[in-house]
């Protein structure tokens, strides 16, 4: 079932309001919606709410044999299948363009930016490595799935603890959670995506578009940065052409947003650690 297009009234009102300096949900142009992070009792599970957009990330791990050409490297895998729970427009078993874009972006932001130390996942070189799997479940789609999924994935990875192991010669012992405290993953940096949407021939740009804003937008761009002001990924797939200055401006805005979000993630993780 396809999503219904917005009416002309909604479209025109949204654009007129943006010209007037207002967004339809009362936000300022460069405001994210309220971000809420909820952890479960288990390690590595987090539910992210970005306004009405909801994403659940769950990290799990298993021991597998590494590739022969990379004997010391562990695995990091993402599952970003779009669930029909988020929107009836997402069908089971049929990959939409949107799904490919979301999954590529997450992949670029997290894996290719080397956020996780995959060498640190090695148990016995050439024999046993950890494979870390991140399942991202989209529960409710009210726009900007990418940013929400990215926050969910990195927060879940930061929250996750894998079982401790001891290696004596060839023997590998995996300790249960009761025997030994599990160990956190070694994470180099925290990449955070900031998505911009463009309107009025690219003159107006906003952060964290809602679903209606996404339906009306002329183009978008996602900037992935970490708190050290390093660009991890930059993605602009089509849409209206942009000025170079504008890209720089987006990056500058993203720097501020990334600092805020990173601080919130860390505060949430600390609060959760205290409860345990």
């Amino acid at each position: 079932m396809r999503d219904a297009d917005p009416s002309t009234n909604e479209r025109e009102f949204l654009l007129a309001a943006l010209k007037d300096g207002a967004r339809i949900d009362g936000r300022k142009f460069y405001d994210f919606r309220t971000l809420r992070l909820t952890f479960g009792a288990e390690y590595g599970a987090v539910e992210v709410q970005l306004g009405n957009t909801r994403v659940l990330a769950k990290v799990s791990c298993e021991v597998i044999r590494p590739y022969t050409d990379k004997p010391t490297e562990g695995f990091l895998m993402f599952n970003t299948e779009l669930s029909p729970m988020a929107s009836a427009a997402f069908e089971v078993g049929r990959q939409t363009d949107e799904e490919v874009l979301v999954s590529r972006l997450i992949e670029k932001a997290m894996r290719r930016s080397r956020a996780l130390d995959t060498e640190g996942l090695c148990i016995v070189a050439g024999e046993k490595v950890w494979s870390i799997r991140v399942d991202i479940h989209f529960l409710d789609h009210d726009g900007n799935l990418v940013d929400a999924a990215c926050i969910a994935a990195i927060t879940a990875l930061l929250h996750f603890r894998r079982p401790d192991v001891t290696v004596v010669g060839e023997d590998v012992t995996i300790h249960t959670l009761e025997q030994r405290n599990p160990v956190p993953l070694s994470i180099h940096h925290i990449p955070i995506c900031t998505t911009f949407a463009f309107f009025n021939n690219g003159e107006r740009m906003i952060v964290d578009p809602s679903f209606l804003e996404e339906q009306v937008k002329e183009g978008d761009m996602t900037v992935t940065l970490n708190v050290h002001k390093e660009v991890c990924a930059l993605s602009k797939a089509g849409g209206i052409p942009m000025e170079i200055d504008q890209i720089l401006q987006c990056t500058k805005i993203a720097v501020v947003k990334v600092a805020e979000i990173t601080a919130q993630i860390q505060a949430a993780l600390e609060a959760d650690a205290k409860k345990r």
Binding site: D5, S7, R11, D20, G26
Partner: protein, 243 residues
């Protein structure tokens, strides 16, 4: 004979699917001539019992001995005589196809407007917002719409809604907005002049002098769903103060 009391009772009588209503309670007097009318949410079952099929509040109207369940949902199911807001999604020689949020698009005859003739009829485009009346609805066919009062042939406010903004709310909240005593609308009206159209399909159209006001009104309506009177007053007050 004891009968089920609803309105008289201060406590709401809430029913869930599977709750059976005893016949003795339904019939006010036991004469066989007395008729019983079942509304939404109630259905006769195979075993001849009358059973609730939706979760909601059991309601009764002594006139015609009507019984129904007042429930809430978000998906619209077209019902004859209701006023709804739809979006034009297609047009052919005889009909407009209108999305009314139901399982299938509804049909609106190109001549179902006030004073429309073959030579002189309004022209609507895809994406236009229309306030219409459901002229025919049943479970097996697409619903049919009209943009006029069928008895007088006058527009009576039906037709295209120009400008403004639309929000989607639950059907229960839409029905409550149609209550002339509705609190949130009265409170908003004290501060901001605005016009609105409420579709029983959960679509609400709002228009006011400027965008900020319209946004505020839409937010206030959305927020009012689960608030009591005091909370509602406080919510509107805080929104108006922030303006």
């Amino acid at each position: 004979m004891a009968s089920i009391t609803t309105e008289e009772e201060s406590k709401l009588l809430i029913v869930l699917p599977g709750d059976q209503l005893p016949e003795s309670g339904l019939m006010e007097d036991s004469s066989a001539a007395h008729r019983l009318t079942l509304g939404p949410g109630l259905a006769p079952m195979d075993d001849d019992s009358i059973t609730a099929v939706k979760a909601g509040i059991l309601k009764h109207n002594a006139v015609g001995n009507r019984w129904w369940v007042e429930s809430n949902q978000r998906r619209y199911v077209a019902a004859q005589g209701e006023s709804i807001i739809g979006v034009v999604t297609g047009k052919s020689v005889e009909h407009y196809k209108v999305d009314i949020g139901a399982s299938q698009p509804a049909l609106l005859g190109v001549l179902a407007f006030e004073g429309a003739t073959k030579r002189n009829k309004p022209n609507h485009n895809i994406g236009d917002l229309l306030y219409c009346r459901v002229s025919m609805a049943n479970k097996d066919m697409e619903a049919e719409l009209e943009c006029m009062n069928p008895t007088t042939g006058k527009a009576d406010g039906f037709g295209e809604l120009k400008g403004g903004f639309v929000i989607k709310i639950s059907l229960g909240l839409a029905r409550r907005l149609l209550d002339p005593k509705n609190l949130v609308l009265r409170l908003l009206g004290q501060h901001i002049p605005f016009e609105m159209a409420v579709g029983t399909n959960g679509k609400v159209w709002v228009n006011s002098a400027n965008a900020q006001h319209t946004i505020l009104i839409c937010n206030a309506i959305r927020n009012s769903e689960y608030l009591n009177s005091a909370e509602c007053s406080a919510m509107v007050k805080s929104l108006v103060e922030k303006m």
